[in-house]
């Protein structure tokens, strides 16, 4: 059922290959799953065929954030073990028809997943989708190894905290040189940055030195939309949603300008009305 992704060099028929991007961070709780859901939704909203793969076996959450928990019938391990076909297991999104979800197994463990089989699964998904986004579990153990195996691109999600930056730095090292690695700084609070109470995007990236894909502010919209199981990226009125849509455009390549780092106006700027 699952074919090896590496087509022989002599193969006459050029295979369609989507991009496999792993969303990872090392540290837990920095917003990998939210980033996966929203980036995926924003990509699919442009018409691209997107599948989100939850690689966090044992702690399935992506379906919840997507609001698709009631539709999940089969999971990754069912597919890997032949208990279900890929078509049976792929859940179609409620709002964006081009978006699919492959849920993780909740009652299994990461060690139950064979890394090579998972890599092959990603390979076969790349033949059917334009973008395969893999939601990586926290940590750098087996679950991490599985999640990155089939991906040749990575997005690092990092919050402006010492621990998150340290872990991100470690993960960048583990990803190796052969993968393209980009950065999303999540949960930035511009008012705190201005007052010298939070690391800035520049502070974070002075350490990580990665191409910046986007900056997401710590906004209530994200919490509210997650409560409802509706990706904020699909909310046309939300500024954070707009940030995710820009991230999608940068991934596709239709937006080449670097992200504008949200800036909190100082007292003086507010007084005189900055025109920026």
């Amino acid at each position: 059922m699952i074919q090896r992704e590496e087509a022989p060099a002599s193969s006459a028929v050029p295979r369609r290959r989507g991009r496999a991007i792993v969303i990872t961070s090392g540290k837990g709780g920095v917003g990998k799953t939210t980033t996966t859901a929203n980036t995926g939704a924003a990509l699919a909203a442009t018409g691209a065929k997107v599948v989100l793969v939850d690689a966090d076996v044992g702690l399935r959450n992506l379906d919840i954030v997507m609001g698709l928990e009631a539709r999940v019938r089969y999971h990754v391990l069912d597919v890997l073990e032949g208990a279900a076909t890929l078509d049976d297991a792929l859940v179609t999104d409620k709002r964006v028809p081009a978006l699919r979800l492959l849920a993780a197994a909740q009652t299994r463990e990461k060690d139950d997943v064979d890394t090579n089989a998972f890599r092959d699964l990603i390979g076969s998904l790349r033949e059917r989708f334009d973008y395969v986004l893999i939601d990586c579990p926290a940590g750098i153990e087996k679950g991490f190894a599985n999640a990155i195996a089939g991906a040749d691109e990575a997005i690092i999600v990092c919050t402006p905290e010492v621990s998150a930056v340290r872990d991100a730095d470690r993960v960048v090292g583990l990803l190796g040189d052969e993968r393209s690695v980009k950065l999303i700084v999540n949960r930035l609070r511009p008012a705190l940055v201005r007052r010298g109470k939070m690391l800035s995007v520049d502070d974070v990236n002075a350490i990580l030195r990665l191409p910046l894909l986007g900056v997401i502010t710590d906004a209530p919209d994200v919490i509210i939309s997650t409560n409802r199981g509706e990706p904020v990226a699909l909310d046309a009125a939300s500024p954070v949603g707009a940030s995710y849509r820009e991230i999608a455009q940068r991934i596709i390549g239709t937006l080449t300008t670097p992200p504008v780092v949200p800036h909190d106006k100082s007292f003086i700027e507010k007084l005189f009305g900055s025109r920026k």
């Binding site: 010492v162 340290r166 705190l192 109470k197 690391l199 502070d203």
Partner: protein, 135 residues
Amino acid sequence: MFEFIQRFFGKPTSSATAKERLRLVLLSDHLSLAPDVVEALKHDLIEVISRYVDVDASNCDVTFEQREKQVAMLANIPILGMRARPKPPAPPPPSPPSAQAVTEPTAAAAGGGRKKPVRKRRRKALSTNTAPQAT
């Protein structure tokens, strides 16, 4: 406004503290060297150099710094004077005692650090930049 006053009186902001903590923790992560190892390295370094020149051991300073793609070791070792070498390994360079004795920053790749796979862009290279001080 209170923060402004705090900054005015030189109390570092918490983000500045975070930045410094991050710098130090990553330094030790990348080098995989515990602080006592750094201290031992400094001791041995001074010992080797003092075989050739008289150094001011009490005023030696060995620090590490994150450079563009590597960690650099900076050693500032004041030289008090030249020492008559017992067995010169090569003909001694005709340099006056006050001239710079060891100036070439030599970059030697040092292994260790991150576990596999080793990332090229952050491989640790120890570049010894010994800036002697004229006596």
